[in-house]
Symmetry: C2
Subunit: 153 residues, 2 copies
DNA sequence: CTTAAATCCGACTATAATTATCGTTTATTA
DNA sequence: TAATAAACGATAATTATAGTCGGATTTAAG
């Protein structure tokens, strides 16, 4: 049910680049330091982001990375999907990674997962980097306080 | 972002048992056949369900498994959480599996994951086996048709 | 033109999780 | 006592995760 570290790290780096959109390139060393990501690992991730056209790089001594597109043109959903494959909790309710399941004609819990998928896909695909960069950080204790009726999540 | 096969298989078996709640025990062989699950694998899963008090077993020639509790007293959330640990997309927004992250004071995308968590936890923890067993299967093509604005999920 | 600082590239490793399978023992009942 | 179940513990195969490493190439400054 979780997103990978790669996705997490990619988003961290991307939002740093969003903050400096239009400015000078930021080297991996700096992106890694600021976001608490292993530098050699981030290297890999940045290459992936580049191959998707989300960032551009400049080599050499004053080089580094910049955001290649307007932050309104990149969504959380695209990023998560690129690194983790699908957003859906189960393949049989995924559109991009749909796999048929023999139980579909009789399965009842599939509806619940479909609802989860629809909500998650909705917010992820509507959330552009520009939108999200304007959000203020979640306040302390807000997480542990928001129970939902069960034991939390 | 996905639920494991174990969770999937556990739910399949559980709903079969819900359908026969109050009736005679159903052997693993039958649960496996009906739900298209490898028998030896399901064996493991049933033991886990038993250890949670969700099912009871009877050995011997007329033996098998029955649901041990009223299906209104077991939720999807409990089952998913038991096999997959957490429902949250990232540890820093999980209640049961919370882990601190160094970026919390400055992280902005955390809010998006928190929203996802809250919704998913909400439906999972509100959905009892009794509720879900009354749902009719998702109709054909309903999945691929429900786009959300992006590329789907 | 040399050097320092970057990205780029491919391979590699280590660990953990996932998805099972297998052999044997114990219990039940017809 | 034979047939049919669950129970138990070990093991195995595959895949995913989370990195690490060495070296090649590019660039700008001195």
């Amino acid at each position: 049910m979780r997103v990978s570290k790669k996705t997490d790290y990619a988003l961290r780096a991307l939002f740093t680049l969003v903050d400096h959109f239009g400015g000078a390139p930021i080297p991996i060393r700096e992106l890694a330091r600021r976001n608490d990501v292993p530098k050699r690992f981030l290297e890999q991730i940045m290459l992936a982001l580049k191959s998707q056209g989300w960032v551009r790089s400049e080599a050499g001594i004053r080089g580094g990375y910049v955001l290649a597109k307007n932050p309104e043109k990149i969504t959380m959903g695209e990023v998560v999907r690129h690194f983790d494959g699908i957003l859906a909790p189960i393949d049989c309710v995924s559109v991009t990674g749909y796999k048929r399941c023999s139980q579909e004609p009789v399965c009842r819990f599939r509806r619940v997962f479909l609802d989860a998928r629809n909500y998650v896909a909705g917010i992820m695909d509507r959330s552009t980097l520009a939108d999200v960069s304007k959000i203020s950080p979640v306040s302390k204790h807000e997480v542990s306080g928001s129970f939902t009726g069960g034991e939390g999540i």
